[in-house]
Symmetry: C2
Subunit: 321 residues, 2 copies
Amino acid sequence: MSGTPNEFALISKFFGPLATHPAALGLGDDAAVLTPRAGHDLIVTTDSLTAGIHFLPDDPPNLIAAKGLRVNLSDLAAKGAEPLGYLLALALPRHCDSAWLECFARGLSADQKTFGVSLLGGDTTATPGPVTLTITALGQLPSGTMIRRNGARPGDGVYVSGTIGDAGAGLAVLKDGLIAGADADHLIGRYRLPCPQLALGNALRGIASAALDVSDGLLADLGHIAEMSRVRIILESGAIPRSPATTRVWPGLEGILRAATAGDDYEIAFTAASEASAVAAGVKAGVRVTRIGRVETGQGVVLLDADGRELRVEKPGFTHF
Amino acid sequence: MSGTPNEFALISKFFGPLATHPAALGLGDDAAVLTPRAGHDLIVTTDSLTAGIHFLPDDPPNLIAAKGLRVNLSDLAAKGAEPLGYLLALALPRHCDSAWLECFARGLSADQKTFGVSLLGGDTTATPGPVTLTITALGQLPSGTMIRRNGARPGDGVYVSGTIGDAGAGLAVLKDGLIAGADADHLIGRYRLPCPQLALGNALRGIASAALDVSDGLLADLGHIAEMSRVRIILESGAIPRSPATTRVWPGLEGILRAATAGDDYEIAFTAASEASAVAAGVKAGVRVTRIGRVETGQGVVLLDADGRELRVEKPGFTHF
């Protein structure tokens, strides 16, 4: 990692122990050197999180760090890649204290063990703005097997892992305190700490025709598959899997619409020609996989109600601008 | 690159044309897939720039973009790597206009042609803070030939490319208008648009025992080599190469101290056992290389005056915290 004397002290104290992979060169070299396994491609992806936009400024620092790492691992998961490591660019306000940083590093350390990755390098800078972390994750997979967004074909089924809307409902609970108790804790946990579906992504190589992780909202994200694959995606609103807690916070058809347009779930949405293979991949990964629609010729994403009528959606997902 | 509908429009309009490498998958897939040449290692590095810290908020956007790219290419240069491409995470204030973005993308486009690299992917987000760009650059070099920071040995000479202090003097001119005319333009240009020493880095593989790029200040940066290599570095203040313009802005011994502790030059400082080889590498790359000191046993960096007396340095370089 780069930095000047004081930063170096911070870096070596809190981040040095995270550089567990030889490729990181102990963070002393401001660059990582690595080579994918023979017959493998390297997959690289980057995502930023900013306080006040992607997390709440008073969220626990260990969870902010873990979320930053996990949203990037989730991108790798959706491609079918096995994660190798990550670089961290951290912009910190000058008043940021050592206890905050220590807790932040602890969050990374715990997740490194969970997901088998290492810090490979990075950059620590001061900012007059909010805390911003940019993580670049690197992974590998057998050459030519990356699951792209442009492979959906008419006749494919559309599937999603887990349940949809939990993170958005969790954010709503955090902001408005709509419910309390175990359901609230579950939803807030889903918002703060997404779980990258790495095992499912791995199992979907050769099975999914297109995939991505649900970050901006199910409808918006499937819109990317529809656009890149030049197909039309038809979703049945009643089939979208929701947790009991989310249904409690957001009931009825309006609730389904909210769940389908809320972001941050980091489930994998994918298309596949074979329903049996899609379900088998879920079983192999120990993850619930639900069929929620089909691919047709045409363009765009359409959400149908129980009577097969097209529902009007004002805003399919989160937009920054 | 990732993003939601409006971001996608921005991305495809301004950044889509920058994804010239097949590995970028046209930015449609939120990840890049690449493989280093056989027998080569992949080198990865990341650096952030924040408005008000690393550049002035009203700097021309094309130059901000180019600087962001070049400081990362400079890291690759110091390792001896050939650049392949980069990922861009861009945090933008909501009021950022389309003309600003267009100019920013134009700066990247011009530099992509200059340095033979491609945008490979990225992330565009909104921030309530200042513009922040984080670039992750990827390069390659023959396996095992990366120039590290820990290889300096007692008896080696210490060298630096180009002239030192120009960027710092340029920033001083921008802030205080100390001088005007061609000299001022030259220095401001050096601050705004560093030139990564890629040809020299390439020529130094197998010759330099340790190297890095001068970003935080010559003394501070050589301090990293001293620390990582566990050696003492002795510099002769009179040998530090300065441009006539910098000498005009910062005259005398005080000026040398300022030049040696100012950052942003992005020259390569390195150690080498053979002076003839060090000079030859400079000739091969068409870059001036100056011997500025020697490596001894011990620790730290020492700056000597013309009489061989140790100069006291209050602050060897830029610190963020």
